[in-house]
Structure formats: structure tokens, C-alpha cells
Amino acid sequence: MNIPDVWLLTLIIFVPSLFALLVLLIPRGQEEWMRWTALFGTLLTLVLTLFLLIDYLNLQDHYGTAHRDRALLGARADEDLLLAATHQPARSDDLIVRIPWIERFHIEYFLGVDGISMSLVLLTSVVSFLAMIASWNIERYVKGYCVLFLILETGMLGTFLALDLFLFYIFWEVMLLPMYFLIGIWGGPRREYAAIKFFLYTLLGSVLILLAILGFYFTDLRPLAEYFKTHPQAQQEAQVLDRLVQRARGAAVNTFDILLLHKVGRESARLEALYQEAKSSAEKTPSVENQKKLEEVSALRQKYQLFSRDFQVIMFILLFIGFAIKVPVFPFHTWLPDAHVEAPTPISMILAGILLKMGGYGLLRIAYPICPWAAYELAWWLGLFGVINIVYGAFAAMAQSDFKKLVAYSSISHMGYVVLGIAVWTGLDRFQYWSWGMNGAMYQMLAHGITSAGMFFLVGVIYDRVHHRDLNALGGLNNSMPLYSGLSAVIFFGAMGLPGLCGFVGEFFTVLGTWNFDRVYAFLAAMTVVVTAGYILWTIQRVYLGNNPRYEGLPEIDARELTVAIPLVVLTVVLGVWPPLVLEWMEPSVTGLVRQLAAAVAIP
């Protein structure tokens, strides 16, 4: 931790809120000023995020390829803590912020960045900035809108950067209320139903997550400190925990520290793996030796396994449902079409572009690393959820006649790849497949963030002109709005997974990983490309092709709308043509996570 890092990360999270305060100060009637202020707030956040990216790239270079493991978030946090403990100066570039906040409950203001969060933070600030530009035609209660919008951005950025569960939960909830109002006040005709549906669904998820968080918190970590002491290769971990034990002065050691909980989860999984192995070999060949081994391991497990198998499974299911609602995973998905249809265009962009990613992020950052054994045991079921999402979402999309609803269901289908990619646990010896899956899931989140935000925006552009979204009544836009239609084609093809555009990369990686996990899943995922092509092309035909005298002379996409659309189109192409642009710095973190988890349940 060093001071510039503290400022940078803190500013990224709170600049939007500061600007929300500024907006509040602007007197009524100065709507244009409010919009510009809000836009400047999101722009400043974007610029700061780019600085963060540069810092992160430097950090990675600094550690180099040989020390990739030390550049992982957990290792960096430990190093930072130990340097602080021994009163040495912190590294200049570790991008870790850890400040005690509520000491009574060991709650810290703990932030950090790795490839996984970096990419999503970047996505958030880009999409928020573009969504703010798209918000220009919001006419009602502009002040309230801008304030809520900016608070929402703070919530989202905080969620991606927080490494303390308590802090994470706060940001998670902070994001919830503005969204409720943004849909409920600025939405379409059924906005109240949609808003409350969204709120209740998500609140249910939050409660489950809260339960899991409390469950983790009330686990006493003291046995783990002893356990680490017996492991010579875990010196750093032992020292870190020792500090906590000393600080607690004999009382129970509880923590909200996500990275520490990762360690607890991994060690628990390792013990479980040892135990299961010993048990199965004892059952297979009940020799005295095996029996003895089993007893030994059993005792070890009894003593040191803080998160027992059952505990992990229960907690994992709680977390999974909580995050699955956000993703959303079938059958927790029906809030999404309603919320999307009713939400104003920029809010749909945020919702699809960023909010859904929190589900995936939560799985990657919290559910998987803290409960690896449960994730490992339930991997097949998780994959099943992913595949159902992919197939079900695609078919449901095909049946829609509301343009926005179609895009909403396509989101469900595409987010299925994220779940599937995360789920394909193929073990340590074949970890490359899981790594493709996981990288595919991450890439898919970014790609979907861009294409879905783009698609919702493009739907909004038409809606502003023709005031309906009925696919069967549209058509012929290619002639009245050629530029708009050309840009739309790129985005829609991107969503369809056309090679050379961003959607393809994530899907292909995911399927590449899935085949070695479950062939049927991979086959279904591969076959769905046909259905996807079906509904996307059919949509393009119904909206852009053909000839419709009603819409002749429709005004072409204007300059403001172009400023939103063109960056999204460019990103769609660039990320599709040259994925190393992102993978270069994202992949080491993702693969590092995969390695750690795969190693945790592998028998040494």
C-alpha cells in the first residue's frame, strides 16, 4: 500500500459520488449543466481507470513472466501486509489498499486490482461514460437521474474493487437502490412492476449472500494459523495469520478479508481432497496401513478444516443463487426481460453491460475461491445451468416480438457461456481446458458488456424515432438510416459470434474448454450457434432489411448517438481481431486463479 495507490483507487470509486454532490448543488432549471457535470464525472472516472490500467501493466511488467505467481492478488496482498508489519516501505506499485475501518469487527477498507477486476472496472467506466452520453434525452427529474446514475457507478466500481466482504456487500447494496429508482421512475409503462420485481429478486440474492458472508465471518481462524506453521512452504501465510492472532489477543480470529478466506477455502479443500483420497483407498484395499493413513488424515481434517465439506456446499449454494440471480441463471432470470424492457435506454445499457457481470465476478472472486471443494463437487450442475441458459435463452429470444425483450433474452443466452466457462473444472493435469473456459468466460463478459450495451442503445435509437419496439412492424431501416444500420450490423454480428468480432472469442474459448469437461455440453453449446444465427439474422431482416414506406425519411443517427455507437463498434472489432490486447494482462490472473483452485483439490 502506498499513498498514490490509495488515492487512485479511492478516487476511481468516489469521483462519481463527488460529482453526484456537485449535481445536487446545481439549481433547478440548469438541466444542461447537470448533464455536463455528470458526464464530466464519468469521463474523469474513465481517465482515472486508464491510469489504473497503466499502473497495472507496469506492475505486471515489474514482476515479469518468471514471477507471475507473485503478481497474483493474494500474494501481493500478503507481501504488502508483511512489509507494513516490519515497518518497511511498501512497494511502489502493488495496487493494494488496506486501511482499518471498523476495528471492532476487523472490517477494513481493503481494495485491490488484478486482471479480473481490472477488465471489469475498465468495462464499467467505459459503459457508464457512454451510457451518460446516451442519457441526454432524459427530460424528467434530470437532477435526480444524474445523482442516482453517479451513485450507481460508485456502487459498481466499489463492488469490483472491494476485497473486504463487508465493504463488498455495502457496495453491492449501494448499487441496488439507485437501480430500483432509475427503473421505477424513468422507465416505461410497466416500470413499477419491473422495478419491484428487480428489487425483490436481487434483494433475495443479497440476503443469501449476506448469510454466506456471516457464515464465513463467524468461523474462527486460529486453527489455520497453527496449520500454516506446520507447513514450511507457507511461511508468508503463517506470518500473516500470526499477526491476526496476536492482534486478537486470545479471542477468536474472524475476518471479512476475501483473500484470507480464499486461503481458508483452499486449505479446507486440500484437506478434503486428502481425506477423500485416503477414504477411497482405504475402502478399496482395507489394509492396516491405509486405515492408519485414513485416521491420520481424518484427525488432521477434524482439527484444521475450517470450512467442512457440508459447510462449503451450503455456503456455495447460497452464494451461487445470490450471484446467479444477477447473471441471471435460469430459472432466476425472469426479472431481466421485464427490467430491460421497462428501463430507459442508458439504464438498460448499464444493466446488461455491467450489472450482469457482477454475478460472474462474484462467482470468480468469492464463491469459487472460498468454497473450491463445493465448486468442484457441483461443477457438473453448474455447467448444466450454463448450458440450459445458452439453449433456453436462445430459443426464448427467437420467440420474442419485442425488440428489447429479444435482446434481453439474447443476454441470458450469452451469459450462459460465462457460467459454462467458469464451471468446466477439468483438473490440474488438464488445467489448460479450464483455463480456456475461465478466460473465455471473462472475455465473454467483456464482449457481452460491449455488444449488449450496444444493442440496447441501438434499440433505443429506433425507439426514440418510431416510439415502438414491435419487430414485426419495423423494417426497411437500412434505406432510411444506412449509417445506423451499418453500425448495427457490426454489433449484431458481434453478438452472433462472428469471427473477427468480439463475441466469437469468448464463445470459442468456452467451448474449447467445455469439450474436455463434458462432450454433451460442448455439443449443445456448439449447436446453439445455429439458433443464435437464426434469431439474430431474423431480427436483422425484420428491422433493417426489406422495404417499409412508413419509415422513409426517418432522421439518420445523429452526432450524439454516434459518439456512443462508434466506440462500441470499434471495441467490438478491435477485441475480436486482436484479443491479446486484453488477454495479455487478464490471462495471467485468470490462469493463476485456475491453477490455484485446480491445485487445491488435486491429490499431491
Partner: protein, 819 residues
């Protein structure tokens, strides 16, 4: 410049990128470029052509001229290419001899703490004889078609264009047409250039989307938009199979590099110590066994369920009692998965090359502008499927090859029969394309690697020619495509008529025209195969019969169009010859349609220089003298002498040749010519001399005619079996969401509201102690709850909070119990 000379492969990379540059410029520039945009696109593709010619020159000079050496060098080359991220430098070890290859990383997964990737997807180039020939063909045909389009699409230069079919006035889209063409050329060249299957797949999809965009070029017409969708979606069915094939190969080979894949699934010629391998260049099917000492090993077994993979260090097998024993630590893959991988890749080719049963999209694709039909849907893109089968040929096990052969055989026959009854000039050509692609597939399937690709190249020229001629006719007749309204046009457009006649003669297989050499090669190959495997006699009978049908419907087309009396005076009066910018390419292509397959002595059907050139690039795995792989299909003993290009001694046809001193070339060639002549005479009889009446025949065979007019009912079948069920499933999903899931959600919400109402009632009752007042109060509360959301929300939160605490308490308790 230095790099280009040091590594001629980069010439080809440049040739590939040129059209991409043109595409990007046109995309950014848009309409503003006007006709200069079109010139830019033409310049780009002509530039590619020039580079291809230069590359060809270098290739011919440096290529080793003994057979099979290329593939051997290729396997080395692939090994080298994998050593570094970008390795044209490795060519230093072998000068600049082809094949030229190199690659860069596209996406990688690392091990922790290692800079070498654990797995990587790459982009690269691989230039061998096949690539060189394909580049020449593609760029030459594409250049002609670009120039032709300057004339054909000229009216798109107008600010406003009247579309008579869709009855709309719309803006001209001249540059957009050339923009799409440029993107297509890039994708197609990239497909041919690629050194790995992943890159091929990318290009595969890109040519697909170009095809989609160009079929839907007149998107105001509903039929065009439908055809575009149909083309892309049908292709995607094939692509799903392609993906499955990719996944299997990735799993067992760990790489998509084509040469690397071959080297892994087939035995090398020599092992790591230079010992010869007994089953060199073959698939080695094995069975895992354990001998009496408990040693595990793999026994070579033609029916084994595993296939050995050759990675890393390889030891030659031991010979034990007439069988070969391989070491047990060698990696293997299940045989059935290798079959599935082959079928998957082939399925991709079936979609792209419009083979049965995915052929339905190609005739509809004729909705696109005619130059597009010529370039994409006749000469190049649809041939990509054939190209890919040829490119990955060594991956196909005999069972898959047989499937390929039958698919081709069925396709060529079905399509030809449908072509007989079509009256739209472009549709006849479309079905003839499907049919000719079937010939190529059949040739590849029966082991005729050279024959199939040879026909691909000759067909590209004469089919592009035929399409452009039809375009010229359509242009000259002011967008009339129905042959029944033409006739006698020879008087009006002599150049078009003559050049088209060249195309017709070529496709019918007339001696001295290019089609003669390649069709003969296919028939000979098929005859040799059938002579070995008599029960597959259809594989010779179908192409032979179809040669006659082909001649019939092609002459029918020419005669209906150009000969006889004009059937529609209006069309005839207004018909005119096309401008030179269109007829020029016709003459050029007509020239190549004749001479492209010539050898030193054009009368020698086996002496084609092009065929010889392709022969040098034939995969070493396919030992054409033995036809080994195919003999396995017939499950004959491996020791007998058998024919690839000549007949086996024990073939049932052999005595015939022994007595008559004839070769299979004579037999197949003579039969082919005979059948074609019959077809030609029949066409002349019906449509020129009129000794036979077509109407009469139609009445006689009304059923057959209807069956053919309905295209064997494939479209109807797919509509019932695929399209409608998909719609039903989709609607079922929507229904499930609306009524089941949301039903549960909404009812749960309603129940909660009711619960909270009871809760409120209970609360008030306790506090006030006035039970008889509750009814009124509940009514008020209920109404306020319904009207004011926040009240509802507060209750929810309360409820959830209580539930959460309760749930947590319960969980903690259970945990404590569980211990």
C-alpha cells in the same frame, strides 16, 4: 522488400492483406469514394493477382521436383514454425524452398511462471503447391469478375435506382458492392493461406458472412433477404459440426496446425532413431493388451478401438508373431472420435460446398447479383469445402472417405436431375454447380485427391465463365432470367453466345476443353475404386450417368437461350450485347476454360500440366500407386496389388483389359464421352431439331416432373422437420417464462402480500385489542399497500430481514449439530 525475397510466403500474406486494406478504406470512405472506390477494389485484387503470379514463378523455380518431398519438408517446417512466435527465419536451414510457413500467437494460456505458453491459438501462413494454384485461380477469377462488375453493376452508380422486383426507388450502392467483394477476397485468400484449422474456421465464417451480405444485396426483396438467411443458417449447421471436429483434434493433438495434426494422427515414416516404421504414414489402430508377463502393450489391429498418436519421442514397434506391438506409454485416442472429428470437419464442408443434405441454400443464393454468383457461389467460396477436404485429407479415416464419396455421388446426381427442369438460367447453373461440387467430393472420397482438386480448378474457370455469360444475357435482356422467354439471342449477342458455348463444351467434358481432363481423371479414379470394391459400383455409375445428364441440361440451356426462334419478341427486340468491360472478362475466362488444363500435348488426356503440378503436392499419406487406404475400406488383404490409376489384377474388370489391351483411361474416358454425346444429341434432338417434344415428355412423366420441380421436396421436408419445430420450441420457452416461472414469482409475491396483511391485522389486533374493528382496518391497510409501493417495500424488507435472521439462526443451529 528484403523479407519478401527471403520468405516468399510473405508475398502471399501481402496478397491476402491487399483486399483487406481496400475493404477498410471503402468501409471508412463509404459512398464518398464513388467509382474510385470500385477502382480501388479492382486495383487491390489485381495487385494480389500479380503477387500470386510472382509467387508462382518463385515456387516453380524452387520447388523440389520429386514427389512427396513436400509433405516431408512440411512436417519439418511445421516443427520449425512452432519453435518461435514468428519464424520466417527458420527457412534459412532449407533456403527458401517451399512450403513457406510462419505464424504468430493470437491467444495463449500460460503455465504459472513460464513464458512458453501451455496452449496457443495462432495465425499463420502455409504455402505449398495447392496454395499456389488456389491463389492463382482465385485472384485471376476474382480480377475478371471485379472488372466485369464495373459494367454489370454500373447502374448502381446512379444516385437513385429503381428496383423493379421490389418496386422501390432506392439509392445506388456501387461502392458497397465492391466493399463486400474486397472483404470476400480477403477472407477467401486467408482461408487458403491459413496454416491451421482455427484460422481456416475464422475465414470460413467470414466468407460465409460475405456470402450472406452479397446474397442479400437487393435486401428490399423479401426473397433475397430470405435466401441470405437461409444460406448463412444452413452453413452454420455445418459449422457446428466443424467446431466439434476442431474440439476433438484440439483435445488429442493440442494444436490446430494442419501439418502437426497429420504428424500426430499418422505414423511417421521413420521413428526418432531413424528406424523405418512398418505402418509409416498410416493410421495405426491398436488394441491394448497385456502379455503373460504382465507387460502392457498396444497390438496393431485393423479393427482396434484406439488410434495411436505420435507425439514426442517415437519408437518403432516390435514384431511379435506377425503383428506389431507398440509401447504402452504411447498416447492414443478412441477411433470413433477420430471418425467423429472427420465427419465434423466434413459436415462443415458439406454446408459450404452445398452438398447433400445441406445443398438447399445454393440455388436460392442466386438472388444475389450475378457476378457474386460467379465468384462466390460457383468459382471460389463453394469450392472452399472441397479445398478443405483436400487440405485435411490425411485426417480422414477410410470410413469417412467412403461417406464423403457417397455424399458426393448422391449430390451430383440429385442436383443434375433437378437442373433438367429448371427454367431460370441462373438456377440451372446453380444446380450444375452443386452437381460439379459433388463430382469433386466423390473424387476425393474415392482417393482421387488430384482429380478432385484438379476439377475444382478447371471448374472455377468454366463455371465463372458460364455465370458471367448468363449475367451478360440477363443484362442484355434487361433483367430477364426466364429461359422460356429467350431464344434466338445468338443474333443479338454473338460474343456472349460463343463464349458461353465454350463454357458449355468445357463442362460437358468435350475433348480439348479443360473439363475433359478433369472429368476424365475423376471417372478413372471412380472406376479404379469400383473395380476394387464392386459393391460400391454406384460410385462409378452415378458420375457416369450424370455426365450425360450434365451435357443434356447444359446444351438445353444454351439452345433455349441462343438458338431457335425468339419466344418473346419484346425481350428479343430490346436485347443487346454487353459493353466491352463485360465481354472482355468473358473472352479471358473462355480462353482459360480451354487451355488451363493443357499439357505439352493437348490430345493426351493424362498429360495435363496442371494435373501434374497438383500431383507433386499430393499428400504423401495417399500413396496413389497403391490406393492403400481405400483398399482397407474394401477390407481386402493389404498385400494384394491394387489400382489407384490402374486396375487391380484380381478386379472383375481385369480380363477385359488384358484381352482388349485397354487401360481404364480408355474405358472410363470412352464411356464418359459416349454418355456425354448421348446427352448432347438428346438435347439437340429436343431443343434444336425438335424431333422430340419436351412438352410431351413432361406430360408423360408428370409425377417425375413435379418431383423434380419441387427439388425432391427437400425444402418442404426441412420446413416440417426443422424450421417449424424450432419455432415451437422457441414459443414453448417463452410460454414457460411467462406463465410458469413468472406465475410462481407473481403468486409468491401475492402470497407474501397476503401474509403481510395478516401480519398487519394481527399486530393491530394485539395493540388495540379491538377485534371487531380489524375488518375495516385491514381493508384500509390492504388498499394503502396496493396504492403505495413504499409501504409494500418496507414490509418486504422487514420480512426478508426476519427471514434472513431466522434462516441464519437455523443454519447455525444445524451447523452446530453437524459439528
Amino acid at each position: 522488400m528484403h523479407d519478401l525475397i527471403a520468405d516468399p510466403g510473405l508475398l502471399y500474406v501481402t496478397a491476402t492483406v491487399l483486399p483487406l486494406v481496400s475493404f477498410v478504406l471503402l468501409f471508412v470512405g463509404g459512398r464518398r469514394w464513388g467509382r474510385w472506390g470500385a477502382y480501388l477494389a479492382c486495383a487491390a485484387i489485381i495487385g494480389s493477382f500479380v503477387l500470386s503470379v510472382v509467387g508462382f514463378g518463385i515456387y516453380v523455380q524452387t520447388a523440389p521436383h520429386h514427389e512427396h518431398s513436400q509433405t516431408a519438408a512440411a512436417s519439418q517446417g511445421a516443427g520449425h514454425a512452432h519453435a518461435g512466435a514468428h519464424s520466417p527465419a527458420t527457412e534459412t536451414t532449407r533456403g527458401i524452398q517451399p512450403p513457406w510457413s510462419g505464424s504468430i500467437y493470437w491467444a495463449v494460456v500460460h503455465y504459472l511462471g513460464e513464458s512458453e505458453p501451455a496452449a496457443a491459438l495462432r495465425l499463420g501462413y502455409y504455402v505449398d503447391g495447392l496454395t499456389v494454384a488456389m491463389f492463382l485461380m482465385i485472384t485471376l477469377v476474382a480480377s475478371s469478375i471485379h472488372i466485369y462488375s464495373l459494367g454489370y453493376m454500373a447502374e448502381e452508380q446512379e444516385e437513385w435506382v429503381e428496383d423493379h422486383q421490389a418496386h422501390v426507388r432506392r439509392r445506388g450502392r456501387f461502392t458497397r458492392f465492391f466493399m463486400y467483394l474486397s472483404l470476400f477476397c480477403f477472407s477467401m485468400l486467408n482461408l487458403v493461406l491459413a496454416d491451421n484449422l482455427f484460422q481456416i474456421f475464422i475465414s470460413w465464417e467470414l466468407v460465409g458472412i460475405c456470402s450472406y451480405l452479397l446474397i442479400g444485396y437487393y435486401y428490399e426483396r423479401r426473397s433475397a433477404a430470405n435466401a441470405a438467411n437461409k444460406a448463412f443458417i444452413t452453413n452454420r449447421v455445418g459449422d457446428a459440426g466443424f467446431i466439434v471436429g476442431l474440439l476433438i483434434l484440439w483435445t488429442y493433438v493440442g494444436d490446430f496446425n494442419v501439418q502437426h495434426v497429420f504428424d500426430t494422427v499418422r505414423s511417421p515414416a521413420v521413428d526418432s532413431h531413424g528406424e523405418p516404421m512398418p505402418q509409416g504414414r498410416q493410421f495405426v489402430r491398436v488394441t491394448a493388451e497385456v502379455d503373460s508377463d504382465g507387460h502392457r502393450y498396444y497390438r496393431a489391429d485393423d479393427q482396434g478401438d484406439q488410434v495411436l498418436l505420435f507425439r514426442g519421442h517415437v519408437h518403432a514397434p516390435e514384431k511379435v508373431q506377425d503383428t506389431w506391438h507398440y509401447e504402452a506409454d504411447m498416447p492414443t485416442m478412441p477411433y470413433w472420435l477420430l471418425v467423429v472429428a472427420g465427419i465434423g470437419l466434413f459436415l462443415g464442408c458439406v454446408g459450404k460446398s452445398a452438398q447433400f443434405p445441406l445443398h438447399v441454400w445454393l440455388p436460392d443464393a442466386m438472388e444475389g447479383p450475378t457476378p457474386v454468383s460467379a465468384l462466390i457461389h460457383a468459382a471460389t467460396m463453394v469450392a472452399a469445402g472441397v479445398y478443405l477436404v483436400g487440405r485435411v485429407f490425411p485426417v480422414f479415416v477410410p470410413d469417412v472417405l467412403l461417406l464423403i464419396a457417397y455424399t458426393g455421388g448422391l449430390t451430383l446426381f440429385v442436383a443434375a436431375t433437378i437442373a433438367i427442369v429448371q427454367t431460370d438460367i441462373k438456377r440451372v447453373l446453380a444446380y450444375s454447380t452443386v452437381s460439379q461440387l459433388g463430382y469433386m467430393m466423390l473424387a476425393l472420397g474415392v482417393g482421387g485427391w488430384v482429380a478432385g482438386l484438379f476439377h475444382l480448378l478447371t471448374h472455377a474457370f468454366f463455371k465463372a465463365l458460364l455465370f458471367l455469360c448468363s449475367g451478360s444475357v440477363i443484362y442484355g435482356c434487361h433483367h430477364e432470367q426466364d429461359m422460356l422467354r429467350m431464344g434466338g439471342l445468338y443474333a443479338r449477342m454473338k460474343i456472349t453466345a460463343w463464349t458461353m458455348l465454350v463454357g458449355v463444351l468445357a463442362i460437358a467434358g468435350t475433348p480439348l476443353f479443360s473439363g475433359w481432363y478433369s472429368k476424365d481423371a475423376i471417372l478413372v479414379q471412380a472406376l479404379s475404386f469400383v473395380s476394387l470394391n464392386p459393391r460400391h459400383f454406384l460410385l462409378f455409375l452415378l458420375p457416369l450417368l450424370t455426365a450425360g445428364i450434365t451435357a443434356f441440361y447444359m446444351f438445353r440451356l444454351w439452345l433455349l437461350t441462343f438458338a431457335g426462334e425468339p419466344r418473346d419478341r419484346h425481350v428479343f427486340e430490346h436485347a443487346h450485347e454487353s459493353p466491352w468491360v463485360m465481354t472482355g472478362p468473358l473472352v479471358l475466362l473462355a480462353f482459360f476454360s480451354v487451355v488451363v488444363a493443357w499439357g505439352p500435348n493437348p490430345f493426351d488426356v493424362q498429360g495435363s500440366w496442371l494435373e501434374h503440378f497438383l500431383h507433386q503436392g499430393q499428400p504423401a499419406t495417399l500413396d496413389h500407386e497403391k490406393g492403400y487406404e481405400l483398399a482397407v475400406v474394401a477390407s481386402q488383404a493389404a498385400t494384394r496389388e491394387r489400382g489407384g490409376n490402374y486396375l487391380a489384377r484380381d478386379s472383375w474388370l481385369y480380363p477385359l483389359f488384358e484381352k482388349a489391351a485397354l487401360g481404364p483411361h480408355d474405358l472410363a474416358g470412352a464411356l464418359g464421352l459416349l454418355v456425354a454425346a448421348i446427352g448432347t444429341l438428346l438435347a439437340l434432338g429436343v431443343y434444336y431439331w425438335r424431333v422430340l417434344d419436351a412438352e410431351e415428355a413432361r406430360r408423360q412423366f408428370a409425377r417425375v416432373h413435379a418431383f423434380l420441380m419441387e427439388k425432391w421436396y427437400f425444402d418442404a421436408l426441412y420446413s416440417v422437420a426443422v424450421v417449424r419445430p424450432a419455432g415451437v420450441v422457441a414459443r414453448a420457452c417463452r410460454w414457460f417464462d411467462l406463465y410458469v416461472i413468472d406465475g410462481i414469482v407473481d403468486n409468491a409475491a401475492r402470497a407474501t402480500v397476503r401474509l403481510s396483511q395478516w401480519d398487519g391485522r394481527f399486530d393491530l389486533g394485539i395493540v388495540d385489542g379491538l377485534v371487531n374493528l380489524t375488518a375495516d382496518i385491514v381493508y384500509a391497510v390492504g388498499r394503502s399497500l396496493r396504492a403505495v409501493q413504499t409501504g409494500l417495500l418496507r414490509n418486504y424488507i422487514l420480512f426478508l430481514a426476519v427471514a434472513a435472521v431466522g434462516l441464519f439462526a437455523l443454519l447455525s443451529y444445524l451447523m452446530a449439530l453437524a459439528g
